[in-house]
């Protein structure tokens, strides 16, 4: 087992201390790990609503929509990170941008091409996930470097595509799906809430999800109970790739059309929501509710800083400072 201090902190994770009598305390502690993010989201929500003047509901409407986009890739990243052993996916923004460009030119404003676009998105995500996993396992390249290098290569494809192909535009149904509201709540946000619940059950209840957590906790132990760590890790990367490519499709519908740096904030954002949400960055312990809470928190925070129209630098300082602050709170539990 490799030791990676930069990932695990100083190995004081409660999830790793083991022992039967810690189970109760563990449940309480793990329940609390995402609390700072939720409280933070709540506080910033109210602050934003008061300062921006859109009211509580208006702020929540827009927040659910934007946070939903972050939640999708956050869940993908959660699967990879939960598989442990230093696994992490930095190729997410490049996959998103590539999918946005490819599907946008295929759809070209037609609803009839939407099914084909979804198939293309699935194919892109699946392919990049497989390549990531293969590079990591066959060539034994550390995931941090491997997924970034694969991301660079995907980025080159994006650049070439951007120069040769037409830009096109998203299909009206997709645009409608991203903007429509039912009793004041965005359909997309509610749909992603449902996706979050589904992801929770996949991770906590399904054989695959439990295998991912088991592999993240101890590859050796997982192997001894007849799990196949390499296969499970590969599947986690494919799930992450699929989340990223589908999110690229959705982001395209939200933004109306692709641009080169449309997804750049999702690279570290996806990791940030996993960690701020209380999942262990070293793997083995996941929390989907935390991903949602942290996504709302980050989204409201960005809105808050934007509406106070502070200088560009202030936004970065506040975002970074909050991540450090919440991290200190989470880690002290």
């Amino acid at each position: 087992m490799m030791r990676m201090n930069w990932l695990l902190g100083r190995r004081r994770d409660v999830g790793r201390s083991g022992g039967a009598d810690t189970t109760g305390a563990l449940a309480v502690l793990s329940g609390k790990r995402w609390l700072p993010a939720l409280v933070g989201a709540f506080v910033v929500w109210i602050l934003t609503a008061v300062i921006a003047g859109h009211g509580l509901l208006g702020t929540l409407q827009e927040g659910l929509l934007v946070a939903g986009l972050l939640v999708v890739v956050g869940i993908g990243e959660l699967f990879v990170i939960t598989a442990g052993n230093g696994n992490i996916d930095l190729s997410i923004p490049y996959v998103m941008t590539l999918t946005a460009y490819l599907t946008s030119s295929v759809m070209n404003g037609r609803n009839s091409a939407l099914p084909v676009s979804i198939l293309i998105a699935l194919a892109v995500g699946c392919a990049v996930g497989l390549v990531n996993a293969c590079v990591i396992m066959v060539f034994q390249v550390p995931p941090l470097i491997a997924t970034l290098a694969v991301g660079f290569i995907v980025d080159t494809v994006v650049l070439l595509r951007q120069q040769t192909g037409g830009v096109g535009s998203a299909s009206p149904i997709l645009v409608k799906f991203m903007s429509a509201r039912v009793i004041g709540l965005p359909i997309f946000g509610v749909a992603i809430l449902a996706v979050g619940v589904a992801a929770h059950f996949v991770l906590q209840r399904s054989a695959f999800g439990r295998a991912v957590q088991a592999v993240g906790q101890s590859r050796e132990a997982a192997r001894l109970v007849q799990l196949r760590p390499r296969l499970v890790t590969l599947e986690a990367y494919v799930v992450c790739g699929l989340c990223a490519s589908l999110d690229g499709l959705l982001l395209n519908g939200y933004a109306g059309g692709p641009s080169l740096d449309m997804a750049s904030t999702y690279q570290l954002g996806a990791i940030a929501v996993v960690v701020l949400g209380g999942s262990l960055i070293g793997g083995g312990k996941s929390n989907v509710a935390g991903v949602w809470a942290a996504s709302l928190f980050l989204t409201f925070l960005v809105t808050l800083v934007a509406v106070t129209s502070a200088a560009a630098g202030v936004q970065d300082i506040v975002e970074g400072g909050v991540i450090v602050g919440v991290l200190a709170l989470v880690a002290s539990h």
Partner: protein, 338 residues
């Protein structure tokens, strides 16, 4: 007694034979890039050609050394790129008009890194996320200091990088001195051994009576110092400030430490190999320019080369591991038959 002596001698020889396979990779990489450059553009290998090319490589070389100190502690610094940009902005805005306060701020920046090391050690936070958050803070401060690229750095910084040294171009001298100094400090001094021990196995170091938190703070002081140097060198090279000037360096610094023979697991670093790898990675960009590879392909090619270099290094590790095992087995058999 004699048998024992023979055994330790064999062990020492084995260790000596083991080092080159892994340590040679960055130099092969560097040699290949330099040879390819020389073949395409002979001017690149003249005194002035090398000076031009290598001055541009110096920010990455110092940045790599900063990352190397962090990785020796078993941590990783995702805020390094932004930190280098901040130092660059500082030198363009404050250092020229107020040299004293500017200098004070530079020293304070090193202090911030020490605090970072202490915070990681005391609060047990994963450095990956902490440094990512702090990176955002550095970028924000740099953007407030210098909203758009510009400003003028102190002329002394620029002239310091343009000395006409006899025979060997100045950047090569700087690289050699830096590599040798860091090698001596980390690999040859008593403190260096303790520092690496803390990164490799904190529990064992703690039991041996070494203050883990204190030693990590020293390593982070090294990271801060090298990060400040990287920012100053970047300023001297570009002549002006750019808050985002260091962002492209971040991932290359991690890659250079790994390609140079370091490990993600802490404690295992190779300063000389890392300098060679940083030079190679930096020259690779120039090589791609020489080859007239369109800027579109550049980032993808870099990604590909990065993968190949890391895969190569790991293959070489298998090779050396395999060799060591074979030698061991052979000696075991010999010992058993004697």
């Amino acid at each position: 007694m004699l048998a024992h002596r023979r055994e330790t001698l064999a062990a020492a020889r084995r260790r000596a034979a083991q080092v080159p396979v892994k340590a040679i990779v960055p130099f092969v990489f560097l040699g290949a890039v330099v040879a390819a450059m020389g073949a395409i553009e002979p001017y690149a290998l003249t005194y002035s050609g090398l000076t031009l090319l290598l001055v541009g490589a110096l920010p990455l070389v110092f940045g790599t050394m900063s990352q190397l100190f962090t990785m020796a502690a078993g941590d990783i610094d995702l805020g390094l790129g932004a930190f280098i940009g901040l130092i660059n902005a500082l030198s363009a805005v404050v250092l020229r008009s107020h040299p004293f306060y500017g200098g004070l701020l530079l020293v304070a920046s090193i202090g911030v890194y020490v605090l970072m090391g202490l915070f990681i050690g005391v609060r047990h936070v994963p450095s990956l996320v902490l440094t990512f958050g702090l990176g955002s803070v550095w970028l924000g401060i740099a953007l407030i200091l210098l909203p758009t690229p510009g400003g003028i750095v102190p002329p002394a910084l620029v002239t310091a990088l343009n000395e006409q040294t006899p025979l060997v171009p100045e950047p090569i001298l700087i690289c050699v001195v830096l590599a040798v100094l860091c090698y001596w400090f980390l690999m040859r001094t008593r403190l260096g051994v303790q520092l690496r021990a803390v990164g490799a196995n904190p529990e064992a170091a703690d039991r041996a009576g070494i203050s883990v938190i204190g030693r990590r703070a020293i390593l982070f002081a090294g990271s801060g110092l090298m990060g400040v140097m990287a920012g100053l060198v970047l300023s001297g090279e570009s002549g002006s400030g750019d808050p985002n000037g260091g962002s492209s360096l971040l991932l290359l610094t991690i890659a250079a430490v790994i390609v140079g023979g370091g490990e993600f697991t802490g404690g295992e670093v190779d300063p000389i190999g890392a300098v060679a790898a940083a030079l190679a990675l930096s020259l690779l960009t120039s090589l791609l320019d020489f080859l007239n590879i369109s800027a579109n392909y550049e980032i993808g090619t870099e990604g590909l080369v990065l993968l190949v270099a890391v895969a190569l290094r790991i293959t070489s590790k298998w090779l050396s591991g395999g060799l060591a095992r074979t030698t061991q087995t052979a000696e075991g058999i010999r010992g058993a038959t004697q």
